[in-house]
Amino acid sequence: MTRDPVLTFTDRGIFCPAGGFFVDPWRPVDRALITHGHADHARPGHARYLATEAAAPVLHHRLGDITLETVAYGATLRIGDALVSFHPAGHVPGSAQIRIEVAGEVWVVSGDYKVVADGLSEPFEPVRCHSFITESTFGLPVFRWPTQADVAARLNQWWRESVAEGVTPVLGAYSLGKAQRLLAMLDPAIGPILTHGAVESTTEVLRRQGYALPDTVHVTPETKGTDHPGALVLAPPSALGSTWARRFGKVSGGFASGWMQLRGVRRRRAVDRGFVISDHADWTGLLWAIEQTGAENIYVTHGYTDVFTRYLNDSGWNAAVVRTEYEGETTESESAE
C-alpha cells in the first residue's frame, strides 16, 4: 500500500494531506500555517491561520482581523494525523520553520531563514528531519556575508561621516525585519534616528512585544529636515529619492541587502553606500543548515533553484526543485521580502 507523502506541492501551496492544512499558501485556503509575516508567505484570505505567538502581532497588524491561532516555539500540536511544531528560523522576529511528522516521518518547511544570530530574531535552530524544504535566494557561492559587527561598524562610520559633511544619511530597508535589525545595529550615541511611517508602525508593534529596539522619531508631514540635526533616516527603499525624502535636503543614500554583494546590482540601485546584510542564509549558511538537518531529501524553493539543486545532487543529496510563489529578497519592491 502506498501512502501519501507527508507534504505535496500543489498550485495553491505546500499541502499536508494527513493534516489537511497548507504551509504559506499563495491562494486562499481553509487552514494556513504561516512561517512569518512577509507578504509572500502570509497572504490575506485564508479562513484560519496558525503561527507562533511571536509572529502574531505583526500578522494582525498586516492582515487585520484574521482568525489566528498561536503556538509557542517547540510546542507540539496534533492536526489530523500530523504532529506539528514551530522552531526558530532566525529570519525575522517571530519567524519559524515548521516541523511536520506523520507516522514517524519528519518533514521541515523552513520558509525563509538565516543561520547567524542577528541579536533580535530568535536564533535559527536546526531540526533533524527526513525531508527538508529550503529556500535558495542566495544559493550561489559568490554570496558570503561579512560579519554583522563589520557591517555595523561601516554603517555607523557612514552615519558619522555624513553628519560631518553636513548631509543626511537615508537608509533604505524593508519595513519588517531588516529595518529593526538595522535599528539594533545603529549607535544611538551618534544622533537621533528618524523613521518613515511604514517602518515606524512595524517597529512599534515589535517594540510593544518586547524586542529591544532603540528610540525612534516618526517623520510626520510637519517634520522639517532641520528639526533633528545629526539624524539618520530609516525608510522603505521606495522612499529613497522620492519627494518624501526631499525635506532632508542633501542626502547620502544607503541600501542594505544581500544583493549589495554584487557590484552590478549596487550600481543599478545607484546608491552612495551599499551594505551587505541579508535575512537570508548565504551559500555557506544554506549548506550548513542542510547538513545539520541530517535530511536525505532536499526540496529547493525560491531563488537559484536549478543551480543549487544540481550542486546538492552532485554532492550526494537527493534534491529537487519545487515551484512556489515565494519571492525571497528582491532588490526592488517593498511587498516581497
Partner: protein, 530 residues
C-alpha cells in the same frame, strides 16, 4: 595595490561625479608615478598583455575554491563579470601584500615566460595575499576592461585638477598610440613640447541628440546642416608621410581599411580629417549593413575590397599644413575643407560630405524626412561659428535623427540579465503573427523603466510555461512596441529579417495580443526600408 584599491572603492562607492573626480585627482597627486601612469592607461582602455587565458583562470579559481567548474560558470553568468565572480567565490584572502599596482602588472608580464604550473602557483599565491577588492582588481588586470564608471572625460578633468593644466590639452595628450612601456608620466602629462607622436589623433567632438524643436536653436542662418551618415566615425591623420585611421573608440583601424593608404596621393601631409567611414559603390553610399562585413576583419581580401569599398565622407578639417585649426569657426574650417577636397578624382578614397542647404527650419524638417532615401539616419546641425571642441558638449552641434521605425510585438521568451540586472528578467524575445503562429523576429533588452522590469519579472515568474536552460517560455499575453533604426534581410533568423538597435519603446498594456503586427507588416517594412 592597496592604494589603487582605495581609489577604486572611492570611485565605485559614489554616484557623484565630484567625489569621483576628487578621488582621482588625489590619486594623481600622491600615488607613485608609474602607478599613476598605469591607472591612466587602464582607465583609457589600454591594458597589459594577457598573462594567461581566462579559461585557465576559471579552472584555477574553481580548484582554489574547491568548487566544480560548472558552478563557477553558472555564477559568472549571473554576476556578469569574471574578475568579480572569482574574487567573490575564493576563500577570503588575507590582504597582507603591500606591493603597488606597477609591481603586480610587471609580475604578471613576467609570468608569461614561465611554465603553466608556475603560473598557476603565482596566481594562487597572489589570490591568497590579496583582500577581496584587491583580488578583483588583480583579476581585472588579467581579464581586462576597467569599466568602473570613470569616463575619459572624468579622468581628464581629474588630471587637469591634479596638474593645474587645461582639460582639453589633457584630453589631447591622452590620445594616440602610447603605452606605459613606451612613455613616462612626465612625457605624457607634463613635458612642454612632448615629442608628439605623429599618429596622435584629436579628441572627437561628439554631438547630443536634439531634444527640442530646431526653432529653439535660433535663426537658421547661424546654422549649417549635413546628412547624419550611417557609417562609423573616423579620423584620418596624415603626418610624416604616414597615415593613421582612428575610430571614435580610439582604436587604430588603419589596417582594417587599406584604402586610405592612397589618401596621401590626394591631400598634402599635415592634414587631419574628421568624417564617416562608409561603403560607397557605383550606386552611391551603402547602409551600415554593408560596412559590417568590413568591421573587425584583420585581413582584407581583394574580393572584399571590390565588393565593399570604403571611403571617408569628410565633414571637418582639424589640421591643415601641420597646424591645429580646431579653434577656427566651423564655417571657416568647412571652406578650407571644401577647397582641399575640390576636384578630387573618382578613385580617391575621400569625398566631401555635401552641405544640405536650407532657408527655414520648416524647409529643413521636410528635407529630413528624405534621410532614409539618402542612406542617412537624419541630419547634423552645426553652429557656423563653433570651434571643434573635445568630447560630448552641448550647444553647438546636434544630431537630429529620424524617428525610429516601430512595430507592435508579443513577448514569448524571457531570460534574466547579468551584472547590474542579475535578478531581473530583462532579455526578451518578441514575435509577430504569421496566421495563427507567433514567429520570433527580435530580441530586446532595454527601454523599460526599473519599475516596469520589476513588474514584468514578477509576471514572468508566475507565467512560465517551460524552461530551456536559462530561457523561459512565457504565456503570450503582453504586447510591446519595438522601436528600431533599420531593417535588413537575414538568413539567420526564422523571420527572415534582422533589426538594427531594437529596444522596447512602450509596454502596450492597451493592446490585446491579437492586435500585434504580422509577419507581412514586417516584410512590407523590409521592402520599404531594407
Amino acid at each position: 595595490m592597496k592604494r589603487f584599491a582605495q581609489l577604486f572603492r572611492e570611485i565605485d562607492g559614489s554616484t557623484k561625479t565630484t567625489v569621483k573626480v576628487a578621488a582621482l585627482a588625489d590619486y594623481f597627486r600622491d600615488a607613485p608615478e608609474t602607478d599613476r601612469l598605469w591607472t591612466v592607461a587602464l582607465f583609457s582602455g589600454r591594458r597589459p598583455r594577457r598573462a594567461t587565458t581566462t579559461t585557465r583562470l576559471r579552472e584555477w579559481a574553481a580548484e582554489r575554491a574547491g568548487l566544480p567548474l560548472w558552478l563557477l560558470e553558472e555564477s559568472y553568468a549571473i554576476v556578469g563579470d569574471l574578475a568579480e565572480t572569482i574574487a567573490l567565490l575564493l576563500p577570503p584572502g588575507e590582504s597582507v601584500d603591500d606591493s603597488g599596482l606597477t609591481f603586480w602588472i610587471n609580475a604578471l608580464r613576467d609570468i608569461s615566460n614561465v611554465s603553466e604550473e608556475d603560473r598557476k602557483d603565482f596566481i594562487h599565491r597572489a589570490w591568497d595575499q590579496l583582500g577581496t577588492t584587491e583580488r578583483f582588481l588583480f583579476n581585472k588586470l588579467i581579464t581586462g576592461g576597467f569599466r568602473i564608471g570613470v569616463s575619459q572625460k572624468l579622468m581628464t578633468r581629474a588630471l587637469a585638477q591634479a596638474t593645474g593644466r587645461d582639460e582639453a590639452e589633457m584630453a589631447h595628450r591622452l590620445m594616440g598610440n602610447w603605452t606605459p612601456e613606451t612613455t613616462s608620466w612626465h612625457e605624457l602629462i607634463e613635458a612642454e613640447n612632448s615629442a608628439a607622436d605623429a599618429s596622435r589623433p584629436y579628441p572627437f567632438y561628439l554631438a547630443y541628440g536634439l531634444d527640442t524643436e530646431p526653432k529653439a536653436l535660433g535663426p537658421p542662418e547661424d546654422w549649417r546642416a549635413e546628412w547624419k551618415w550611417d557609417g562609423i566615425r573616423g579620423q584620418l591623420v596624415l603626418r610624416d608621410g604616414s597615415h593613421f585611421l582612428w575610430s571614435r573608440g580610439e582604436e587604430l583601424i588603419t589596417d582594417t581599411f587599406p584604402e586610405f593608404a592612397r589618401a596621401i596621393d590626394f591631400v598634402p601631409d599635415g592634414t587631419v580629417l574628421d568624417g564617416e567611414i562608409m561603403v560607397w559603390t557605383a550606386e552611391g553610399p551603402q547602409s551600415f549593413n554593408a560596412l559590417q562585413k568590413r568591421i573587425g576583419r584583420k585581413t582584407v581580401s581583394k574580393k572584399l575590397l571590390t565588393d565593399a569599398p570604403v571611403e571617408l565622407c569628410a565633414y571637418d578639417l582639424l589640421e591643415e599644413h601641420g597646424t591645429d585649426i580646431r579653434d577656427q569657426p566651423f564655417a571657416e574650417r568647412r571652406t578650407r575643407l571644401e577647397r582641399l577636397l575640390a576636384d578630387l578624382p573618382r578613385d580617391a578614397p575621400l569625398r566631401l560630405s555635401p552641405p544640405v542647404d536650407f532657408g527655414t527650419w520648416e524647409d529643413l524638417a521636410r528635407i529630413r524626412k528624405g534621410a532614409r532615401e539618402a542612406t542617412a539616419e537624419g541630419l547634423m546641425l552645426k553652429r557656423a561659428d563653433s570651434p571643434y571642441l573635445a568630447g560630448r558638449k552641448k550647444g553647438d552641434w546636434w544630431k537630429w535623427k529620424l524617428d525610429p521605425l516601430t512595430i507592435d510585438a508579443v513577448m514569448i521568451y524571457a531570460q534574466s540579465g547579468s551584472g547590474r540586472r542579475a535578478n531581473l528578467f530583462t532579455d526578451f524575445t518578441f514575435a509577430v503573427w504569421n496566421g495563427n503562429d507567433l514567429v520570433p523576429f527580435t530580441k530586446a533588452y532595454s527601454g523599460l523603466s526599473d519599475e516596469e522590469f520589476r513588474e514584468i519579472t514578477a509576471w514572468v515568474r508566475r507565467n512560465t510555461r517551460q524552461k530551456f536552460g536559462p530561457v523561459r517560455q512565457v504565456t503570450p499575453e503582453h504586447v510591446f512596441e519595438i522601436a528600431f533604426e533599420g531593417i535588413q534581410r537575414s538568413t539567420r533568423h526564422k523571420s527572415g529579417v534582422a533589426l538594427r538597435f531594437p529596444r522596447m519603446a512602450r509596454w502596450r498594456r492597451d493592446k490585446p495580443v491579437q492586435e500585434a503586427n504580422t509577419l507581412d507588416d514586417l516584410k512590407e517594412m523590409l521592402r520599404q526600408y531594407g
